[in-house]
């Protein structure tokens, strides 16, 4: 512990005393300022930090479970607890970020020269430095506030990282195999989910514990203790049917046959993202099946089978189980072809606008939850399903799919969540 402190002091001194530090913070908020060259702080400093955490990277995976998020009880949370939490998550976040940086460094050299990927690499280096620095001393409430500010900065900086990274990988397909890509992205997204979750949760906890805040009986940080999957589905359906209306001129619908009054503790953002993706897929399939655009509907036309006479609603079944919630989405969208089934869980496999090979480049901004900004189209990145699965599996849940080609698909979403406090 003492050695670490000495190294950190020496780094701090080195960094503080140079003009470099000034440059970092003035351009920290603008992603575009990060360029192709190696970042401006010396390799020595950042490598030290990463080296420190690389040791923990190999000895243990930074793991925390759902209990840890709600361990302090309902806000307002006393300052000491907040500061303790800040210390803990700083360690976990630094381990995660270091692991990401090392993974990026082990990509083929030519790939990291791609401007998209190098941009991501640079912001990771920057984040490592910033989180390390801002949390060097965590003793008082002001320290925590400064740390929270740095976390917010990091969250904002990384918000658009996924589309950028996706673009970089799409452009580098000739330099890396699909398997390696999938493994890299699986690990990357997993770490990213954890880092963002911890950061945003801590920021929210701090805000909810501010002196002038009313005690909140519902939210603990990002966790909604009365999350209603039914309400979430209804809101998402409203949003998506607007999008479908714009795109196809048809409004899809959804009915809930079981489980309207099921409540669960979970992170709203995560469940919202997953349900948006799954409902989007179901709606799109249902509409296209009705319009005769899917392979299944074409088979039915060819063999004089009965056509879909309506845009059937997606049937949602919500069941509370001992360890969480199971949500089943049943659609009549024609099902998924055998050959596609293996590919849907990979990255950059979008069936949207298949005719255009470079569909990605012409397309569509990703859904709103990923970017935080607008996004009105129905597909394109091809990251939706793997990312949803990463969210579901983060706390031990799962997404399973059973398809009946010619009819429709059933999706089983299992969310793991312990009992409410």
């Amino acid at each position: 512990m003492r050695i670490r402190r000495r190294i950190s002091l020496s780094i701090d001194f080195a960094v503080r005393s140079s003009s470099i530090r000034r440059r970092i913070f003035t351009c920290s908020r603008q992603l575009s300022k990060f360029s192709l060259e190696e970042p401006v702080f010396t390799n020595f400093d950042v490598n030290e930090v990463i080296g420190l955490y690389a040791r923990t990277v190999t000895t243990k995976t930074s793991s925390f479970n759902f209990q840890d998020l709600i361990q302090f009880g309902r806000p307002p949370i006393p300052d000491e607890a907040l500061i303790q939490n800040a210390r803990t998550i700083r360690e976990i976040i630094l381990t995660s970020l270091s692991r990401r940086t090392l993974a990026l460094r082990s990509l083929p050299y030519i790939m990291v020269l791609n401007p998209n990927i190098s941009q991501i690499y640079n912001i990771y280096l920057h984040s490592v430095n910033m989180v390390y620095d801002s949390g060097a001393e965590l003793e008082t409430k002001e320290d925590n506030d400064r740390f929270v500010e740095a976390l917010q900065n990091m969250v904002d900086t990384h918000t658009n990282a996924i589309p950028t990274l996706a673009k970089g990988f799409a452009e580098s397909q000739t330099y890396i195999s699909g398997d390696v890509t999938n493994r890299f992205l699986d690990a990357h997204l997993h770490d990213r989910i954890g880092t963002r979750l911890l950061s945003k949760h801590h920021i929210a906890l701090t805000k909810q514990s501010a002196p002038n805040q009313r005690p909140d009986s519902r939210f603990i940080g990002l966790v909604d203790t009365q999350l209603s999957p039914m309400e979430l589905c209804r809101e998402i359906t409203l949003f998506l049917s607007d999008v479908c209306d714009l795109q196809y001129g048809i409004r899809p619908s959804m009915t809930i046959d079981v489980g309207e009054d099921v409540r669960v503790d979970y992170i709203t953002e995560h469940l919202e993202y997953i349900l948006t993706e799954l409902l989007k897929n179901s709606f799109r399939a249902t509409i296209e099946q009705f319009l005769g655009m899917t392979p299944a509907s074409q088979y039915r036309i060819k063999h004089n089978l009965q056509q879909e006479s309506a845009v059937y609603p997606v049937v949602v079944t919500i069941v509370r189980t001992a360890s969480g919630v199971v949500i089943r989405l049943r659609d009549r969208g024609g099902g998924i072809e055998e050959d596609n089934l293996k590919r849907i869980w990979g990255y950059s496999e979008s069936t949207f606008e298949e005719e255009e090979r470079d569909g990605f480049k012409t397309l569509n901004t990703p859904p709103p939850s990923v970017t935080g900004t607008g996004g009105t189209s129905m597909g394109g990145l091809g990251y939706g399903l793997p990312l949803s699965r990463a969210y579901a599996e983060y706390f031990g849940g799962s997404i399973d799919l059973e398809t009946c080609f010619g009819w429709g698909t059933d999706v089983y979403l299992t969310i793991n969540s312990p009992q409410a406090i």
């Binding site: 088979y299 069941v319 509370r320 189980t321 059973e402 009946c404 080609f405 010619g406 009819w407």
Partner: protein, 449 residues
């Protein structure tokens, strides 16, 4: 319940189950074929030693190895069903010789498999019974001379019928043996062994029964042209009708053991008028198992909770290569501790109960009358005596624990699939994809040895 040690103490419990044993030359009850005639009973080859387990057997194994060295020839549905082709003497004889050569080859592969299992397993009563039965049958068929005339074929078909009858008890014995030996061998290897045995058995029985059916049809009418049905293959099997028939049977069986408990209705949706070519007895077995599971679960749930059962949604889908059946129920789902063992013959927590139940499965020759009453219930089913019939009509209190693994083998045999998705505390969805047996050779090669 007896302890494990007494069950494995080498005492032969077989003779109680099997009225026809290898050690007796003649059975007391003649076997009826499906025309109601009683063919002349052939003596079992009496120059065959009573037991194959001797040191002579080791050196005689050369013959077996010769057959193992041959690879089995793939069989297509065209060959089995003679789609729209006219039958002639020559074709029948050709088919007979094909069976005469393929049967021993395929059986040799299975016997060879068993010979590689650990000694302790094959010395188990049940497994050794199956082993000796197979070896004996292998010898019987391989010694049969080349078939040159229609009369030869008649004699050959008699031998085949007898063989089929003898082998009806193989499945219960195999499963009992597997459960008893579950701790002697890695369970994955055991499951693989069971799967290959059953797959091979299905293929042998299918082409054997098809040949017999073709012979019978040809003898009845030499200008016979297969249109609607040949043997077990129905060309225009109505999917919804099969489900309804199985529903009737499963319902009456469940009702008989759970008196007065309401059983969920079936609600159909989808392409309910689908007709396709399939092996009807296989389909009936699979659908029957699935429905029985659903009804059992539903009855148990009603006993526990009292709510009237929700209807079971049956979706029939006509897809390019398959006909898909989806059974969606609300009977409470599968307990999570069972799920890892769902597809295994080597069961987890419930294996000893299953084993006990197995001993009570009726074997055909012994209780034909009892079988007839069951068969009368399922009107519309052919009165076929097959090993599947005894399983299909067993009492629902006999939980054998092999319904799903068996369905998987039958489904995958023809290139289909089965999947089960359970929502804990709510219900199950079972997805059964059955291959359409058409002229596309891709799905109809039986090269599973």
């Amino acid at each position: 319940m007896r302890s494990r040690s007494t069950l494995l103490d080498g005492r032969c419990t077989i003779s109680r189950c099997l009225p026809l044993s290898l050690y007796r030359a003649r059975t007391t009850r003649p076997l009826e074929n499906h025309h109601g005639q009683t063919p002349v009973r052939k003596r079992l080859n009496s120059d065959m030693p009573a037991s194959t387990v001797s040191s002579r057997h080791f050196y005689q194994n050369e013959t077996l190895l010769d057959f193992v060295a041959r690879s089995s020839r793939p069989v297509s549905l065209r060959q089995l069903a003679f789609f729209g082709m006219k039958l002639t003497n020559d074709k029948i004889i050709q088919s007979a010789n094909f069976v005469r050569q393929e049967l021993p080859t395929r059986m040799a592969h299975r016997i060879h498999d068993m010979q590689s299992l650990p000694y302790s397993i094959v010395r188990n009563n049940h497994i050794s019974y199956v082993y000796e039965l197979y070896y004996h049958s292998f010898n019987t068929i391989r010694r049969f001379p080349v078939i040159k005339t229609v009369d030869d074929n008649d004699r050959f078909c008699d031998v085949l019928r007898e063989l089929l009858a003898h082998h009806t008890a193989v499945i219960p014995h195999l499963v009992m043996g597997v459960i008893e030996c579950s701790d002697l061998i890695d369970s994955k290897r055991m499951d693989n062994f069971m799967e290959s045995m059953l797959r091979s058995r299905i293929s042998r029985r299918v082409f054997t029964e098809q040949h017999i059916a073709l012979t019978d049809a040809f003898l009845k009418d030499p200008n016979f042209k297969p249109t609607e049905q040949v043997g077990q293959v129905f060309f225009q099997c109505s999917a919804a009708d099969v489900v309804r028939q199985c529903d009737t049977l499963a319902r009456s069986l469940t009702q008989s053991s759970h008196e007065g408990i309401p059983i969920p209705e079936l609600v159909f949706e989808g392409d309910v008028n689908t007709k396709f070519a399939c092996v009807a007895s296989h389909l009936r077995y699979m659908v029957g198992e699935i429905l029985r599971n659903t009804f059992e679960a539903s009855a148990e749930r009603y006993q526990a909770m009292g709510n009237p059962p929700a209807p079971v949604l049956v979706t029939i889908i006509d897809a390019p290569q398959h006909v898909t059946f989806r059974f969606s129920d609300r009977a409470g789902g599968i307990p999570p501790e069972i799920i890892p063992y769902l597809w295994s013959f080597v069961k987890g927590p419930r294996s000893m109960i299953r084993h006990h139940n197995f001993k009570q499965v009726p074997v055909l020759e012994a209780i034909v009358e009892e079988l007839e009453t069951f068969v009368a219930v399922a009107r519309g089913q052919r009165k076929r005596i097959s090993s599947l019939t005894s399983l299909t009509t067993r009492s629902p209190t006999l939980r054998l624990g092999m319904g799903l693994p068996m369905c998987k083998i039958y489904a995958e045999f023809w290139g289909g699939k089965i999947a089960v998705k359970s929502i804990e505390g709510f219900g199950c969805d079972v997805f059964l994809h059955i291959s359409k047996l058409g002229n596309e050779s891709r799905f109809v090669q039986m090269n599973n040895i």
